[in-house]
Every structure is written in structure tokens, then in C-alpha cells.
């Protein structure tokens, strides 16, 4: 045990001190924070560019009827010819011209929009909707229905479906599918990423020891199993360190960026003296409140507990397989033939995971979250939606059992493989190695 610690300690320190590790660990958060902040920055910019649109309404029907928003203001131009206006558009402060033909109700594709820059989709949709609704209302009015306004008001309801999940104890829980899917996807992807990235590091470490001819000296002092486990666990700690640093730094950067931004936005809003509508900062805070209530719907102890379990369990299972592959080959290029069958379940798991997010209680998701080689990824995709405890326990138990079995076989291959140089083993040989008597 003590020797595993010595090995683990070296494996950890050597990797932590590497320049590439330090650079990756520090650059990662910048990249992630950038990915999160840049869209916000742009969103913030857009919010404050008010677009003035001139409306030439030949039907005289929509005057003052297109609702204004924070971004889009409409000015109705009377007695102006479209052709003249188009020529002079550049000299005005208008973003574009909306032209509505005289008989729009009968020529639905007759409305036209002219501008120098590409209009945002939200603008064209807004205008189309407004025209559509007005025509609809007018057509209904033509039927001479009494109390039409009230009827329309009561008909036009905006529907938001809130989904609730019933549990067997009769409790209702509000679901937030979007957030659930995000958490599911993120945690499943993290497991996948961790297994692949650090599994490959285990393999490279084993190959390095083998080609550097150091391995025989080491296993004259420690058991091959100890060397393998020391390496696998040491690299797991490197990975965990990197993740912890990434997450803390990213959160810190995002928080810092947000603060910078939000104060900026608030200032701008104040300077413009906008009276209508809440301050953008205020909206954000409101949005934040909503996110918090959504977060509260997730069972965090179960989520974090199972994330750690499947994260580490999946890595250990695959890490020992990667160690066995590394021991069997002389160079990384030779590892391809053995990598394929090991990566295949991981890739299948990713594909099933995408499906499991849509239908977390389907039988596909169920079975693949029980089968140990795919369960770390698929189960993580199901957990945010709630998984019965018995399924969790079954899946975890099977994972532990498989892990013990696989690590034994891997240790056998490893034990024989690290001492064999200069030939590319076949599957048949690996099978033989598993049956050699080693100690």
C-alpha cells in the first residue's frame, strides 16, 4: 500500500510540474469563460442598438398598429413614395423601410423590407407576426361577431407548459427540461472526456516506462499491480486537480466578467434615461432568480455523489484497460488495434446518451445505464431527470464488480506485457497472457 503511495506521488508530481499541464490548466478557464462571456457581451451590445424602421403603408391599414419593442421602433411615413425613400435611405437615420402593398390580405407575399444591412430574424418575424395578426383580426371582424375584442382577448393566450413529475409518494416536482438536459449533457460529456483524455495518459505512461526500459527495475521492487494502480490513481488525481482548478477559475472569471458587464449595462441604461421597462441588470437578476429556482429542482446530493462515483468508476474501469493496452505494445502507433474495441463502448455510450436525454426513462437508456461499460456516461445523462435508487445501486454494483474483474485481467496482461519487447501481440496472445501464472 505504502509503495502504491510512493508511485502515485511521483506520477502526480511529474505530471503536475509539466509545462503543458500548467499551460492547459490556466488557459482552459480563459477559454471556457470566454465561451460563456462572449455571447453575453454581444447580447448586451445588441440590446442597446435601437433600430428605427420607416413604414410605408399603402393599405393605410397598419398605421400605429405594429407594436414597438425596446429594439425596434416604427415610424409611419405618409405621402412618401417608396422609390424616393429608397434613394434617400442612406441619408436618414432609419435602419430600413417596410413596404406594405395596398391589398396585402390578398397578396400575402407582397410586403417588402429594404435595408443596407441584413435585418435580424427577430425583426422580420416581429413584423410578419404583427401584420398577420392584424389581418387575422380584421378578417374576423368582417364576420360581425359581437364582443369580438373580448373574444379575441380570451382566445389569444400565450401558453407555457410547465412540466411536473409525479413520484410514487404522491409528491409533485416541477421539471425544467432545458436545465436538466444541460446538466445531463455536461456531466455525461465530462465523464467521457475524462476517461478518454486521462485513460490515454495512463497508456502513454505505461508505454514510456516500457520503451524506457525502466519497468523491470521497478517491478523488482514492487508488484506490477501496485505499479499499475499507482499510475492509474495518480493520473486520476492529476485529472481531478485539473478539473477543480478549471471549475473554480472558470466560475471566478465568469463572475468577474459578469460583474464588469452588468455594471456597464446598468450605467448605459441609466445614461440613456430609459424609463420604460426594467433595467437590463434587473432583468438579469430576475433571470438569475429563476435559474436558482430551477436549480433547486435538481437533487444535488444524488447528482454530485453519483457524478463523483461514475466519474471515478468509469475512469478506473477504462484506465486499467488502457494500462493493459499500453503494456502490450511497444509504441503508441501499435496501440490502434486494441484501442478500437475499448473506445467503441464509449462512443456507443455517447450516442445512447443523446437519446437518453430526450427519453431518460426509455428502455434503451435504462439498459445502457445498467451495463457497466456504458453506464458511467448514460447514467449521468439520466440522473438529472431522477432515477430510482434501485437502478442506481444496481448500476453502481455492477460497475464495481466489473471493475474488479477487469482490473484483474488487465493486471495479468500488464504483468506479462511489460516484460515482452519487440513484437506486436495478437488477441490470441493476450488471451494466453491472462492465463499465465505470475505470482
Amino acid at each position: 500500500m505504502n509503495k502504491i503511495l510512493i508511485i502515485l506521488h511521483r506520477e502526480y508530481l511529474v505530471r503536475i510540474r509539466k509545462k503543458s499541464f500548467i499551460v492547459m490548466t490556466l488557459l482552459g478557464p480563459l477559454l471556457f469563460a470566454g465561451i460563456m462571456l462572449v455571447p453575453m457581451l454581444f447580447a448586451g451590445m445588441n440590446d442597446h442598438e435601437v433600430k428605427q424602421i420607416a413604414v410605408i403603408d399603402s393599405s393605410q391599414f397598419f398605421i400605429q398598429k405594429i407594436p414597438e419593442t425596446e429594439q425596434f421602433k416604427f415610424t409611419y411615413a405618409m405621402n412618401v413614395k417608396l422609390e424616393d425613400f429608397k434613394k434617400n435611405l442612406a441619408r436618414t437615420e432609419f435602419f430600413g423601410i417596410l413596404y406594405i402593398p395596398p391589398y396585402i390580405a390578398y397578396t400575402p407575399s407582397g410586403a417588402e423590407f429594404f435595408s443596407y444591412r441584413q435585418p435580424p430574424v427577430s425583426l422580420t418575424m416581429h413584423m410578419a407576426n404583427a401584420i398577420e395578426k392584424n389581418i387575422e383580426t380584421e378578417k374576423l371582424k368582417a364576420h360581425q361577431i359581437e364582443n369580438l375584442d373580448e373574444i379575441l382577448k380570451s382566445v389569444r393566450t400565450h401558453i407555457d407548459i410547465r412540466t411536473f413529475k409525479l413520484s410514487e409518494e404522491g409528491a409533485e416536482k416541477e421539471n425544467h427540461n432545458g436545465l436538466n438536459m444541460f446538466v445531463a449533457c455536461a456531466s455525461a460529456f465530462l465523464v467521457y472526456f475524462f476517461v478518454f483524455m486521462f485513460g490515454a495518459q495512463v497508456m502513454r505512461g505505461v508505454i514510456e516506462e516500457k520503451t524506457g526500459r525502466i519497468v523491470e527495475i521497478i517491478i523488482s521492487s514492487v508488484k506490477p499491480f501496485q505499479l499499475m494502480m499507482g499510475k492509474v490513481i495518480g493520473i486520476a488525481l492529476v485529472g481531478l486537480t485539473q478539473f477543480v482548478v478549471w471549475i473554480t477559475l472558470t466560475l471566478a472569471l465568469v463572475a468577474a466578467g459578469q460583474m464588469l458587464f452588468m455594471s456597464n449595462l446598468a450605467e448605459k441604461a441609466l445614461q440613456q434615461g430609459t424609463t420604460a421597462g426594467p433595467l437590463p441588470a434587473q432583468t438579469m437578476i430576475d433571470g438569475g432568480g429563476e435559474i436558482f429556482s430551477m436549480l433547486a429542482s435538481i437533487n444535488f446530493p444524488v447528482l454530485i455523489g453519483s457524478f463523483l462515483f461514475f466519474f471515478i468508476g468509469g475512469y478506473l474501469l477504462y484506465g486499467s484497460l488502457f494500462a493493459a493496452i499500453g503494456s502490450a505494445v511497444d509504441s503508441e502507433t501499435d496501440s490502434q488495434q486494441f484501442m478500437m474495441p475499448v473506445s467503441l463502448p464509449l462512443i456507443v455510450a455517447m450516442m445512447v446518451m443523446l437519446n437518453a436525454m430526450q427519453n431518460p426513462d426509455g428502455s434503451l437508456a435504462f439498459w445502457f445505464s445498467i451495463i457497466p461499460f456504458t453506464s458511467p456516461i448514460v447514467m449521468m445523462a439520466r440522473i438529472p431527470f431522477g432515477v430510482p435508487y434501485w437502478e442506481l445501486i444496481l448500476s453502481a454494483g455492477l460497475l464495481i464488480g466489473t471493475f474488479i474483474g477487469v482490473i484483474r485481467l488487465s493486471a495479468k496482461i500488464y504483468h506479462t506485457g511489460i516484460l515482452i519487447y519487440g513484437k506486436k501481440p495478437t488477441w490470441k496472445e493476450l488471451w494466453k497472457w491472462m492465463r499465465y501464472k505470475n505470482n
Binding site: G212, R213, I214, I218, I219, S220, L419, Y436, N438, N439
Partner: protein, 305 residues
């Protein structure tokens, strides 16, 4: 007292028999040569002795008791295929590998410093292994093997990669360790170093031990009655007389007063009395067969599979 006894060891890889009823006894305090052609099974035996692999059948005894895994802490092993972590610093590497042998940090530090001083490489402590020359790496490797003060040293081809000066330094250190009580198992193809250093040998061929024992006794047993003679007098007469006694003579063309006599049937005294009767003798030496000859003769004898 034997420090290491291997008793009827069998080892098979698939259908290939690597060791077949191999028995080896290494006396305490000796330098023991493990000889044999490539592929004879030496490395497998050494790995079994280091508990890197297990025998299929047979038993190992260490200092008289059945060997335990913990005995490996008293063994220092220099494998034939050897190397170090290239990116690791010299001193750190020595401390790490000593730690794996169970040495405490302070002990490891002290002893590494001592050995570095002995080999005059103190300035290397913070150098990375990849910056060292091959000979320097071999020195470091040797230090790492002996750092934990093992009572049994197993060295597989220890002189390969050394220039003659450093090879001599190694030999000196190996003898010094033997004189301090360390037992050394030397696996090598270099027969002259076997004659020079080993007290006992085992010759392994085709997974069996085909010859073992004390080196001088073996050479005595393989002597074929050859003598080197220095004389003054009538060479022609000498040849005639020896011919009459069925002894053959080889003349040394460059040195007229020298001859090589082959007299397998005669005792040395008898031969000498015959020679004295016709010439005056200035020197008379029995020629013992070299380990090289004994090796070749024995290995050729055993049928190949």
C-alpha cells in the same frame, strides 16, 4: 550456507519450456556466474529469483527459508534491459527507486550522496537523465541497484556499455561489495570476466543446468594435459623423444625456445622427467582450458531442440 537456492524449477510459456528442473545453489558471500547462450533461460530464472514471475513448479529458498515476497527488499537487480526515466532528475530518480525498495527518505539521501561521491558524480544531482552520456547513465544505474545495501546482487550483463576504465571500476566495486559480504550473481557472456571474478558458475543451456561448480575445479576437471614449455637445448631431440612417448608438440615459430606439449595420458612429473632427460627446462606451465572453451564445448554437446 546458500543465500539463494532454486530447487527443481519448471517454467513454461505456452508450449515452450523455458526452465526444466533447474536447480541452482548460490553460496553466501560468493560471486556466482550464470552462463549460457542466448535464450537458454537465464533471464527467466533471474526474473523468478526476483519474484517478477512465478515458477510453475519448484521452490526457492532465501537464506535457508522459503522465499517470501518481502525478501526482494534484500535483492538488488540490474536487468539486462535497463533504463531510467529520461525526464527525471538524477538525484530524484535515485531517491524514488530507493524509496520503492523500502529505504527511508533520509537514509536514501545520505547513501545516494555517499555513492555519488564514490563515483565522483556529485555534480549530477540536478541533471536530467537525458543529459547524461550512456556510460554515466550506467553508473547511475549501478548506484541505484546497490543503494539499498542488498545482501544479494543480481547483475545481468553489468559491463555492457562501459569503457574499459569504467568496466574496471565496476569490477572493483563488485569485488569490494563481495568482500563486505554481499553475494553477487553475475549473468554474462564475457567469459574472461567470469574467469577473473567468479567463484562458482552454473552453465544453463536449453532450459537445463548442464554444468555447475567451483570455477577452478571445473577448469581442473576439463584440463586436457596441455603444457607450455620454455627450454634450452636441441629441439629436434626433444621432438623425437616426445614422439616416442606419444606426445604431440607444437612449435612456436617466433620464439624458438617455446613449445606447447599435449600429453593427455601423462602425469606432469612423468612428462617433466622425460623432457629433462634431453633439454634443460626454463619454464613449465600447465595450461588450463579457458571458460570460453569449456562454454563452447558444453553448449555444442547438448542437442538442439
Amino acid at each position: 550456507m546458500n543465500i539463494l537456492s532454486a530447487h527443481q524449477i519448471d517454467k513454461q510459456y505456452g508450449t515452450v519450456k523455458v526452465l526444466d528442473q533447474l536447480t541452482v545453489d548460490v553460496p553466501l558471500g560468493s560471486i556466482y556466474g550464470l552462463l549460457g547462450p542466448n535464450g537458454a533461460g537465464k533471464t527467466t530464472f533471474i526474473r523468478i529469483a526476483n519474484r517478477i514471475t512465478a515458477p510453475d513448479r519448484g521452490e526457492l529458498f532465501f537464506m535457508g527459508h522459503k522465499m517470501r515476497y518481502s525478501d526482494t527488499a534484500k535483492i538488488g537487480y540490474l536487468p539486462e534491459e535497463r533504463g531510467l526515466y529520461r525526464k527525471m532528475k538524477t538525484g530524484e530518480q535515485a531517491l524514488y527507486l530507493a524509496g520503492l525498495k523500502g529505504l527511508s527518505k533520509t537514509d536514501a539521501r545520505k547513501r545516494t550522496a555517499e555513492w555519488f561521491e564514490r563515483f565522483e558524480i556529485t555534480g549530477w544531482w540536478n541533471k536530467k537523465v537525458e543529459e547524461l552520456s550512456k556510460g554515466m547513465q550506467q553508473k547511475l544505474q549501478f548506484i541505484i541497484t546497490v543503494l539499498h545495501d542488498p545482501s544479494l546482487l543480481i547483475l545481468d550483463e553489468p559491463f555492457s556499455g562501459f569503457d574499459p576504465v569504467n568496466a574496471e571500476l565496476m569490477k572493483k566495486e563488485i569485488r569490494r561489495l563481495r568482500d563486505k559480504g554481499t553475494t553477487v550473481i553475475l549473468s554474462t557472456h564475457n567469459m574472461s570476466s567470469v574467469e577473473e571474478m567468479c567463484d562458482h558458475i552454473s552453465l544453463i543451456d536449453n532450459s537445463r543446468c548442464i554444468l555447475h561448480g567451483n570455477v577452478s575445479q571445473i577448469r581442473q576437471a576439463y584440463k586436457s594435459g596441455e603444457y607450455e614449455l620454455g627450454f634450452e637445448g636441441d629441439a629436434k631431440l626433444l621432438e623425437e623423444v616426445l614422439d616416442a612417448y606419444q606426445c604431440s608438440v607444437d612449435w612456436d615459430a617466433e620464439h624458438p625456445g617455446k613449445a606447447r606439449i599435449c600429453a593427455p595420458e601423462k602425469a606432469a612429473n612423468k612428462l617433466l622427467s622425460i623432457i629433462i632427460s634431453c633439454v634443460s627446462v626454463t619454464s613449465f606451465n600447465e595450461i588450463l582450458p579457458s571458460m570460453h572453451d569449456i562454454f563452447i564445448r558444453n553448449v555444442k554437446k547438448t542437442p538442439r531442440l
